[in-house]
């Protein structure tokens, strides 16, 4: 029976986990960009960089946070390069006929996504890492390379802003200003 090198087993484990985490990376990339093609690009770039750098990862427990940090950097790179998000190819890939657009919740989903998109990028990243990915404040701080206090303040402001946007966006909010705003989100839920 041939010996299987430890490194091979480790890399095999990484590959399995990369495959498993891919949908999560994409979901977060989508929440950051609200652009399916760009989200696929970010996911792809993240995986490519992860594969290239996998040997440098010492602790597999840190894999998830490491991947999201890579994706954060990829996102920064996109900003720096000022990559156009209006690529004709991207438009071809966007299929609006999705199950979500056919469901009864599509209006609410659209409303929330628009509100998230309206948040500052740094707030959006913090919010999605905590709320969608379930990273702790410490992990989020590590991924975004900011102090924990910054995560807390960004999160607090992001949620407050999101709530304000959702309240304002609720149908009828403009026409019935006398209604107390505080009740609206609870009613949607």
């Amino acid at each position: 029976m041939p010996m299987i090198p430890f490194q091979f087993v480790r890399n095999s484990e990484i590959r399995k986990r990369l495959a498993a985490i891919r949908p999560r990376l994409y979901r977060t990339a989508f929440a950051w960009t609200h652009d399916r093609a760009l989200a696929e690009d970010l996911t792809h770039e993240t995986l490519v960089k992860a594969l290239q750098g996998a040997r440098h990862l010492r602790d597999l427990k840190a894999l998830d946070a490491w991947l999201f940090r890579i994706m954060t950097n990829c996102r920064h790179d996109h900003y720096r390069k000022r990559v156009s998000t209006d690529d004709i190819d991207n438009h071809e890939l966007i299929d609006e006929q999705t199950p979500e657009t056919q469901s009864g919740e599509r209006e609410l989903v659209r409303m929330v996504r628009e509100a998230v998109q309206a948040l500052p990028e740094t707030h959006r990243q913090t919010l999605t890492l905590v709320d969608l990915e379930g990273f702790s404040y410490v992990e989020t701080a590590s991924i975004l390379e900011v102090p924990v206090g910054t995560v807390m303040s960004r999160l607090s402001r992001a949620r407050a802003r999101l709530r304000g946007l959702l309240t304002a966006a609720e149908p009828g909010a403009q026409s019935q200003p006398s209604k107390p705003n505080t009740a609206r989100i609870r009613r949607i839920k």
Binding site: P23, F30, T43, M152, S156, I185
Partner: protein, 238 residues
């Protein structure tokens, strides 16, 4: 000043995220029991968080837009134990530098009638004609072994990055050979090109790469490689 005023928004957010110490959590629970405003604030925060989660709960489509055809039958778990010993130092360990695998190692078992089916995915990420030629040699050897009957060997050749040029209708030096391999072993070999790379080249270099007609497009070469390896394919990069 009410109890609610004393608890900052940051604290309350940390409370709903279970980021506070047990003592602090208990303190807020106790305050909530007496303060309806605080309960409202907590409720609003949780509702906002739940709304966010629900908005992204439905997968916003992660597509391999043009999948490889499922013309290969389902496979078992058996996959190239002999290759792991002979080629185990290749693949991921050698990435990104590829040393040509020992051809004898690759074909050693497939020459035996009792050999398990071999599934190999070759990965071309560099525009290296010499290395690619060796890939084609290895692929040919593996596929030629299928003529002996028994379980067939399967080969995929996935190109992304600069490797896409090797499958380009305009620049590939191997057009004839790819065409020939595909014609002779069309049920057992697939050439695949990465759509992400193609898009990126168009976007960043204004370069439009037309792939050979034998090449199937997958949305992401990397993801294709991950999925194949997940299914037990042996990975050999250049």
């Amino acid at each position: 000043m009410t109890a609610t005023d004393k608890i900052s928004d940051e604290m309350l957010n940390a409370f709903i995220d279970h980021e506070l110490s047990d003592d602090d959590m208990m303190q807020i629970y106790m305050t909530m029991s007496k303060d309806s405003d605080l309960r409202t604030r907590v409720c609003d925060l949780r509702a906002t968080r739940d709304l966010l989660r629900s908005a992204y709960q439905i997968a916003p489509i992660l597509s391999q837009a043009q999948r490889l055809p499922s013309r290969f039958p389902a496979w078992g778990l058996a996959a190239m134990v002999a290759l792991m010993s002979a080629g185990g130092l290749l693949g991921w360990l050698a990435y990104p530098v590829w040393h040509p695998p020992a051809a004898s190692a690759l074909v050693a078992d497939v020459d035996q009638p009792s050999a398990s089916r071999v599934k190999v995915v070759f990965h071309a990420s560099r525009n290296d004609a010499a290395a690619f030629e060796q890939i084609l040699d290895e692929a040919e050897t593996l596929l030629a072994a299928n003529n002996g009957g028994g379980a067939a060997n399967l080969v995929r050749i996935v190109a992304n990055g600069e490797g896409l040029y090797l499958l380009s209708a305009r620049t590939s030096p191997f057009k004839h050979r790819i065409q020939q391999l595909n014609a002779q072993h069309k049920n057992h070999v697939v050439f695949a090109g990465c759509s992400q790379t193609r898009k990126r080249m168009k976007r960043e270099r204004g370069e439009s790469i037309e792939l050979l007609p034998e090449v199937l497009m997958v949305n992401s070469g990397v993801i294709e490689l991950l999925e194949l390896q997940e299914k037990g394919w042996r990975y050999l990069p250049i």
